[in-house]
Amino acid sequence: MRALAVSLLVAVALAGTAPAQTPYYAGKAIELLVPTAVGGATDILARFFAPFLERHIPGNPSIRIRNMPGGGTLLGMNWFAANAKADGTMMLASTVSSQVAYILRNPAVRYEFRKLKAVLVNGSGAVFYASPQTGLRRARDLAGASGLTFGSLTPPGVELPALLAFELLGVQPKVVFGFESRGPIRLAFERGELNLDFQATFVYASQVLPLVRQGKAVPLMTLGFIDERGRMVRDPSVPDLPTVYEVYQQIHGLKPDGLLRWKAYAGLVAASWTYGRALWVPEGTPEEALRDLRAGVDRMTADPEFRRQAEQVLGPYPVLRGDRVEQTLHRNMTMTLDVVKYIRETIRTKYNQHI
């Protein structure tokens, strides 16, 4: 009798967790492809998100990160476009350089962002600053300033928006190409070899603010942050500095909207900074997988532990659910041909670089 009661209870309990409710990802694993080497910014962010997504996607899939560096991220990106299975078990982390190559229609690009579904989008901003020896006190002094030197990588990727900002504001610094990354450029600034620089906000906060306090650097402006409606607003992590948009108004007394130069600049800022990093799955991924991935992102961003750690690792930049910003993202990454042409021509005539 007792045995019967127990087995009945067990049966009821089992029925309660009916298999009809088994989440899509139960017992599954996700391979997250990172097209850069281990330890790069994109890789670190992927590794930061992975354990939280494991915890919050229904069914708790395990997430394995696979790094496939090479070809300036194109190798991994192209590989994913050609080989990824659309069953929700393969995810891609796109980077700034893969998005810039796409925007500028690099002929080696074999991927199409419109054939991918965004799961999660995040980004960052950057700050321009100058040496006190330049005599610059605020951003509007840039108009008519001379003797400025600015360091850059070749070919320009993340600093493309900076070069276009100079173009927009009419600043004519001497640009020195050839650096391997922005770290050595900062060292050259500290040594006095360069006197105008821009760095990502988290680098600015940790490396440049101490210089500002010692009077060795003057903060000027931020790249700006593109909100979901496509307007440029102040950077949430450095809200006291004006954006390039404001500085243009200060100098010219007009709004830049509608100018070709402005379209090129704002599009690149959105694609390479504000929405510079995203996780994607292939088009055709089953609806229930997409639903659970989105639920996972929502639960993750609500998790107090995630919020606490994200504050430190990502700064104040929001983690956005992919489907909410997909339209904005695509709009920013699809530049009309005249804008692309303008960017290429500017870089070619001004800097003799063919991109």
Binding site: G39, G72, T154, P155, P184, V203, H354
Partner: protein
């Protein structure tokens, strides 16, 4: 400060933390031993596990692994002749000949002891220089960094060998290969032949493994017998210790060179090791034994390559400018915990800085101890007929090379460069200048371009440039003074006119000439800014190689030792088999190909009993599969998806 240092030491009084440090050390040792896998692989393999720990433990594990990789990589370099990591290729040149002479034990004990002392000196230097490092790093501008890369190249000059023309050609070949990939001065990719794989240049581990490792293993297999060619088990443990004591100042000099190469972002670990090696050769009176197994050529570079990683931590921690890929991963790990390297790390996280230093020091001692303990057993491997070890060694090298970018291109480059390395070795061309040219051309061109753009010609007036120029010229002046004093022996010049024409030499020289011609043609089509250096290199290469071609045809320049025809045939067969390995991997995947290759080597070269060969192959295949899944390494799957 001392108080903070002692407090940090207490971190390791906790058994869990000490256990984690040990885990990092063991991980580093294993990765170091695997051919071609260095600090980057060690840190990237540990990273996913480390992120589940707290910041202090994570830092201890990663630093522990980084500290010992350059201790254990020597084992592979010395015993097998395949560089355990790219930075230990010098130990292939000096340590492996000692193993062949039955002195593996002596070479290993000298190497471990120098590594340990180099690591400890590095940790000490790190502690002492933290307060003064910032102004030091900032004192050197682009012109000085450019001069330092030139100094590195001039050190390579002492490694050219007896035949200067062959040495220069080897260096120019490496330089040309190093120019493959993005140009620092113009937005153009050079010599990529439309392949995405070549767009970022060929990875250094693949080059080091191919030029030294594949060539050496193919030669060993073709020769038959065991690695050690003489009877009697290597005693020599104490002898190695005595060697280090005798050359104690070499250890210190090596560590200092390594520290500086680490501190300056332009150079990097491999260049530091080679500079230490070049320095020893340049400053030694008797150079006869270099290249044939000179213990001094092990001591200084081994000390240097352990100090490099410590020096590298200075720009990494104080400026957030990592000097190497593995240090970049360490920065990534710190960012993950919300710890930002930079000026404030000394006030906000001084405890963590000392945890790093202590981990480094402890790991250097413990790691060297473990290697010491394991090595008598490993040294016995040099007595085993090498054919029995050949297949697993080659499979491990292919696996190591493939981790560089996980592209079939890695395997193709490995075998192609292996063939080149074999021909160079057979024709008596030195291979050290090749690797130095490959490593240094990037930073040299980059800092020249930056210097020129920033300073115009005024950079030549900087005092730092003058000091470095003096250091650059001094050895040449010294050498010519000595040459003037010495009376030249009459028989020096004509001794090489043997009149022989050696097939491998002719083939290699003709091929090299063709490569330079093709390089020049392709370089001429590049945009200004990208083409100048390639044209210069290819032009110099054409002049020298044509001269060499004449000398070779006239039989004026034959190598000292000519390999016997049977050995050449066996080597060529093996190289062909390796090419087959790559093609087969492309179609049926790595695991199946490795099994078939192993079986072939066991039956054909080791002449094993068929049943035994099958069992051996099965065990190896299972081990490779397990290792790959344990370390989450990726294996090429093959088009047929088997």
């Amino acid at each position: 400060m001392a108080e903070a240092a002692l407090q940090a030491l207490q971190v390791f009084a906790n058994a869990d933390r000490l256990g984690l440090l040990l885990a990092g050390i063991v991980g580093g040792i294993v990765v170091g031993i695997l051919p071609g896998m260095g600090g980057i692989v060690a840190v990237s393999l540990l990273l996913p596990y480390v992120f589940r720990l707290d910041a202090v433990a994570a830092v201890a594990v990663l630093t522990g692994a980084l500290a010992v990789v350059h201790t254990s990589d020597t084992i592979t370099s010395v015993l097998i002749g395949a560089p355990g990591s790219a930075a230990s290729a010098t130990s292939v040149i000096e340590g492996h000949p000692l193993a062949r002479q039955g002195q593996a034990a002596r070479a290993l004990s000298a190497a471990f002891l120098s590594s340990m002392i180099g690591g400890l000196l590095g940790a000490l230097g790190l502690t002492l220089s933290i307060p003064i490092a910032r102004p030091l790093v900032l004192a050197l501008g682009a012109p000085e960094l450019f001069m330092l890369t030139l100094l590195g190249v001039s050190f390579a000059g002492s490694l050219l060998g007896k035949d200067v023309r062959k040495g220069l050609l080897s260096g120019l070949m490496g330089t040309l290969l190093g120019l493959v990939g993005p140009s620092p001065a113009a937005a153009q990719v050079r010599f990529d032949f439309g392949s995405l794989y070549l767009m970022d240049g060929i990875p250094l581990p693949v080059v080091a493994l191919g030029i030294f490792g594949v060539a050496e293993v193919v030669d060993l297999l073709a020769r038959g017998g065991s690695i050690a060619q003489v009877e009697g088990l290597g005693r020599g443990w104490l002898e190695g210790v005595r060697d280090v004591l005798r050359h104690r100042w070499l250890v210190v000099r090596g560590a200092l060179i390594g520290m500086w190469a680490g501190i300056l972002p332009a150079l990097g670990a491999t260049a530091g090791t080679w500079m230490a090696y070049g320095h020893v050769v340049a400053t030694s009176r008797d150079r006869e034994r270099f290249g044939k197994g000179d213990i001094r050529g092990i001591i200084a570079p081994e000390s240097a390559n352990n100090a490099v990683a410590a020096g590298d931590l200075i720009p990494t921690l104080l400026f957030m400018v990592p000097g190497s890929a593995s240090a970049a991963i360490l920065v990534g790990a710190l960012l993950r915990y919300g710890i930002l390297p930079g000026p404030r790390i000394l006030t906000d996280h001084l405890d963590l800085v000392y945890v790093i230093i202590w981990s480094y020091a402890l790991a250097s001692v413990i790691g060297a101890g473990i290697c010491f303990a394991a090595s008598p057993a490993l040294a016995r491997l040099t007595r085993v007929p090498f054919a029995k070890l050949g297949a697993p060694v080659l499979v491990a090298m292919a696996l190591g090379a493939y981790q560089a970018s996980q592209e079939m291109g890695d395997l193709v480059s490995l075998v192609a460069l292996g063939a080149l390395g074999w021909f160079m070795s057979a024709a008596g061309w030195p291979r050290a200048p090749f690797l130095i040219g490959f490593v240094l051309v990037g930073p040299m061109e980059r800092y020249f371009v930056i210097t020129k753009n920033l300073y115009g010609w005024t950079w030549l007036a900087r005092p730092g440039v003058w000091v470095l120029a003096a250091a650059l010229i001094a050895p040449f002046v010294w050498a010519s003074i000595q040459r003037l004093r010495r009376t030249r022996p009459a028989s020096e010049v004509p001794s090489r006119q043997s009149g022989r024409r050696v097939a491998v030499d002719v083939f290699l020289t003709a091929w090299v000439t063709a490569v330079f011609v093709v390089g020049a043609v392709l370089a001429a089509q590049l945009v200004p800014g990208a083409r100048e250096l390639p044209l210069l290199v290819a032009g110099a290469g054409i002049l020298l190689s044509v001269a060499q071609l004449f000398a070779v045809f006239r039989g004026h320049d034959a190598p000292e030792e000519v390999p016997e025809p049977a050995r050449v045939r066996a080597s060529l067969l093996l190289l062909a088999a390796l090419a087959g390995f790559v093609v087969l991997t492309e179609w049926v995947g790595f695991l199946l190909t490795a099994a078939m290759f192993t079986l072939w080597v066991c039956l054909r070269l080791a002449r094993m009993h068929p049943g035994f060969a099958v069992a051996y192959t099965a065990v190896l295949a299972v081990l490779v599969g397990r290792l790959a899944s344990l370390l989450s390494l990726h294996l090429p799957a093959g088009r047929l998806g088997l």
